[in-house]
Subunit: 647 residues, 2 copies
């Protein structure tokens, strides 16, 4: 759990025995120099008279509060109190102390840095700086980045947990309660009717976004920590459990049956805990670890001591605003395709895909361009003066098409094309391995008109923003590149798009062109890409998928067996594989920076929000990490820790 290798072993102390169960003026206890739950600077402990330490730990007898010791043996209490103060001062950290009293004589058995909640760790760290016990840098190292994240979400009250019926992967933190719905449509309807819902699906796809957006939480039977549901939920800051394969979902019956045979029906109230991955029946109370001044102080120190820039993965104005609020220094990944899934746009996108000739397609592209223009303009306003890395259309086109007969019928009515034609197109675009198919910059090669439209939208929005007095900094990012010729061909398409907009306007806009580094081939041949790009952003999700041959959507079926059999130490989608993926990144940076100085390097996969991975990115010398808005504080802390640890 804490990534401590088994092989390290554990040390053993041998010391003389003392007896707390010798007499009534004997006893044992545990004390903390500060409150480990809240962090308050308040000596805190428990004691059991005429008892050994084991009795305290075993919980057979209920210990008394430390005040009982003060009342009964004031001298011993004073010894304990003085000692704890000295120990904390000596170790310069909150101490967890075990003590024993044998016939009125006081012994310290053990002292160590005390375990604490996230909230306490932050308060203690900040307080100790105020007390001049530790430096700001040390304070930063006292906080675990995971603690920081939990800090940002409401949590299921651990004291109140009950009726646990299933567990899955803790895909997105926080706790949520709602009525079970089995489709995005239901989620939207029920929410509109004033209900809070938990969206339960076998897995989610981009077509579910509108339902995921309104749900309190998301629960899926399939998928791992980086499945669509997990990534989107973390991005939205919505709590989620994925890979809950103890649950059998039957859409038509509207039921989810647990391993033990309990049937959860549509409309049942459940609570999900995205930190523990637990599904519970009923409404379990939540507690709010709200943001505090201490937290803001700590983050300000993090910004002072970190080198890595922190950007956000964001497309919507809401996410962008959230990102700014949480301290983002720009957008490192704006996934333009997310802009096409909204209800008022998806059919235009579909019409474009299904167009039978150039004129028809251009009609749809014009409409899409207007939408994208507005979207980008909104982002440029929010990110005024901060860079926005905009990735060109990435997913395979079939992801946009409807699949169920009802949806196909609806689309047919809407865009006036026969059902048979739509069915044929759906089947024609189908792919065996969509992950390795016609997507990324391959779309630009096959459909340059889409890229040109996107570039026009970006640049016309940048011009409009500039005219309003904003300072847009667009960075156009080409996805899924395997060689430099793709970049050159697409740069020409980009130039065409830019010139067709510039002709109409006189402002000149500064922009950059760069590439995602997400195929092993791009990394292996980075020296050849260098001359044609201004930035390289490692897309370590796809890079991991391809380097391992692990599909994110399918690996849930074997990664658990890999972890159980200790074939891998960590899920490589959760924490960057420094050995192989790191080797590719190192090669890419070394080979490309040799060819050209000044290339900016970043990372924009899910790893950009993982503390271990962020520290590794610092070591690699990246310029920035980009992550979900909700992970930005985590990234700021981790980046600072990396730099402090290095020094």
């Amino acid at each position: 759990m804490n990534n401590i290798p088994e092989s390290l072993g554990t040390a053993v102390n041998v010391q003389a025995m003392v007896f707390g169960n010798f007499s009534d003026d004997s006893g044992s206890g545990v004390a903390f120099t500060r409150n480990p739950s809240t962090g308050e600077k308040l000596f805190f402990g428990e004691v059991l008279f005429n008892a050994a330490g084991e009795d305290v730990v075993a919980g057979i007898r209920t210990p008394e509060s430390i005040e009982a010791l003060q009342a009964r043996m004031p001298e011993v209490y004073q010894q304990l109190f003085d000692t704890q103060a000295m120990l904390e001062k000596h170790y310069r950290d909150m101490q967890d102390i075990e003590f024993t009293i044998q016939e009125g004589r006081f012994f310290i058995l053990q002292t160590r840095s005390g375990k604490r909640t996230g909230r306490a760790s932050i308060k203690i760290a900040v307080d100790m700086v105020k007390e001049k016990l530790i430096t700001e840098k040390e304070a930063l190292l006292r906080v675990s980045p995971e603690h920081v994240e939990a800090f940002l979400h409401p949590m299921v009250d651990p004291e109140a947990k009950q009726d646990l019926v299933a567990t899955g992967l803790p895909a997105s933190p926080g706790g949520a309660t709602g009525a079970v719905v089995f489709s995005a449509e239901e989620a939207v309807e029920e929410t509109a009717a004033g209900k809070k819902v938990i969206l339960v699906r076998r897995e989610t796809t981009p077509e579910d976004i509108h339902g995921m957006k309104v749900a309190q939480g998301i629960l899926t039977e399939l998928g791992g920590m980086t499945s669509h549901a997990a990534v989107v939920a973390r991005g939205m800051g919505v709590c989620a459990i994925t890979g809950c394969n103890k649950l059998t979902i039957d859409y038509s019956a509207g039921t989810a049956t647990t391993d033990s045979g309990h049937v959860i029906k549509r409309g049942d109230i459940i609570t999900i805990d995205g930190i523990a991955g637990e599904v519970m029946l009923g409404d379990i109370p939540k507690i709010m670890a709200s943001s505090s001044d201490d937290f803001q102080i700590l983050l300000s120190w993090a910004d002072k001591y970190r080198k890595l820039q922190v950007r956000a993965n964001a497309e919507t104005p809401e996410d962008a605003a959230k990102a700014i609020e949480l301290g983002a220094e720009g957008i490192g990944l704006c996934r333009t395709e997310h802009m096409f899934f909204a209800a008022d746009r998806i059919d235009i996108m579909r019409g474009m895909i299904l167009s039978e000739n150039r004129t028809e397609r251009e009609g749809y592209l014009e409409k899409l361009e207007q939408f994208q223009h507005d979207d980008f303009l909104a982002l440029f306003r929010i990110m005024d003066g901060k860079p926005i890395t905009i990735r060109l259309l990435d997913p395979p086109l079939h992801e946009f098409l409807p699949h169920s007969p009802e949806d196909i019928k609806l689309l047919s009515d809407h865009i006036g094309k026969p059902v048979s034609m739509i069915e044929a197109a759906v089947s024609d675009l189908q792919e065996v391995n969509p992950m390795l198919g016609l997507r990324g910059c391959r779309l630009s090669v096959v459909h340059p008109e889409i890229t040109e439209m996107q570039v026009r939208a970006i640049m016309s929005a940048a011009i409009a923003a500039t005219e309003e007095g904003c300072h847009p900094l667009p960075e156009i990012m080409i996805p899924l590149v395997v060689n430099v010729r793709e970049i050159r061909m697409i740069s020409e398409i980009i130039d065409r798009g830019i010139h067709s907009v510039m002709k109409e306007k006189t402002l000149s806009i500064r922009y950059k062109i760069g590439t995602m580094m997400e195929t092993p081939r791009a990394c292996l041949g980075a020296d050849r890409l260098a001359a044609d790009v201004e930035f390289m952003s490692f897309g370590t999700n796809d890079l991991t998928q391809m380097t391992y041959g692990f599909s994110r959507d399918d690996a849930g079926k074997f990664i658990p067996a890999y972890l159980t059999n200790k074939l891998i130490e960590m899920d490589p989608f959760v924490s960057l594989d420094q050995r192989a993926i790191g080797k590719l990144m190192k090669m890419a940076i070394k080979d490309s920076s040799k060819k050209k100085k000044g290339i900016k390097y970043g990372i924009c996969g899910e790893h950009g929000g993982d503390p271990r991975s962020i520290k590794y990115c610092h070591k690699l010398g990246l310029d920035y990490v980009s992550c979900s808005p909700f992970r930005i504080p985590v990234a700021r802390i981790a980046a600072a820790q990396a730099n402090v640890e290095e020094a």
Copy 2:
């Protein structure tokens, strides 16, 4: 077509003009020192009197045979004859000569090595060695490996071609004629009824094997040069065209409609040319470039001068026998899953997959073990004394399950499980990206009992073969490895399997354990794999898929655009990408051989049969290449050329 880069340009000679169209004692002509079609050592040419060279080339007037010159201007003819003999001797190769006669005076305009058919190239090379004009090594360099391959198959007579209705990718060479069928079942039925058939499918899957086996040729709408249809067809030596996307297939109507609207119906006779990728209506005559003594002589020289071993990819006794006949030195890739698709086995395999408990599964595994035992025993007999590299079960299990309602019903009747249960299993095993899913050694991790069964079958067969006096050399190959821990875990499973067989027998059998190198991660971490393997076999099909992020099954949709736009010079599935895949291979060899001496390196992807790739493998220092039996002569020649060229 010949892999000559455009950038090379072309040289231009400037020379004095002479006129063949000056008078009746003037003329122009072309001559070959030997027959370019048959290779016969017979001076051969054409002449046009009172005509310029352009007239000969343009084909407006029909030239006369060179004998006409001999009759009309015997002195000039003698000059030409003497000159051609001198030129051939000087250049030590068959010459293609252009000449002009101006008012009775003879001029040579140009001489160059003449283009020739495969048949001619072999005959000329062997003859010239007999004539002591060139050495054996030179003779080897005079033959193009592609020529060698065409030599092995019947071809559509180029003179007879007509009624071309569609073109696709030349996936497997040769020519074939038959009645169109649209399913493997039809193919089997019609063949049983005495008809010859061409199997026409959108794409093929392992379930179509029985139909592909009996078809004269295979034609698919989808898929590239390394799609299932292409790979299997080449393996079988059956002619095939893939990616023929000018054809729209309607299974229910039993029609394939061409771009121009021609409808090919079930039962129509068509001819396909797997060398040109052309589909023609009717029965077009074929010519047979049968094997010749010259060819055998040339191959014997190839064996004398090559360093690379040549092995075959083979599973069936027929393929293994063919491989031996064509000169294989062992089997480099025995895909055990192919043994499970036969009609009498597939339902046992399916029963095993669908087993609900250990006892049930073990029952099926026992039956499968008996089949595999028999298969391996047959192979060990044929490959007596030669190594057989046996790959453990590789494809995802869903590939074995039926998908159509009818097939599910049949299976349900056969194995006595409810249709709903089979449907649930099919849907449960479904994967988004099967290429990157639960397959390869991941199957061994999740289902060790299958691996153990396979190992028992291999070793018990090896023992039986030894008892018969054969010398089996099994090499067990672990597919899709990403790290050494997989190899260690599976080696333990293998040991278990071996010991459970050995307990019963007393013979000791020498065997090797090795790994496929087919994920980028395996290559990047080869140093860590070295200690635990005796051989490494590069699976460059998958390695290319993952390094590029190109799915073989889907890349047909964009590779043509990549070639047209010159984004890639060659389809990386056809010819090994030396820059990136080569880099990974080089790293793997260097890093692993540093850690342990004596590891054998091989290649067993489709590239193992591609001459350019074979030459590169020689350069990399591999020990062997493995390819379809039908490509073995090609590989022998290419391997020899690589070694001769290097020297």
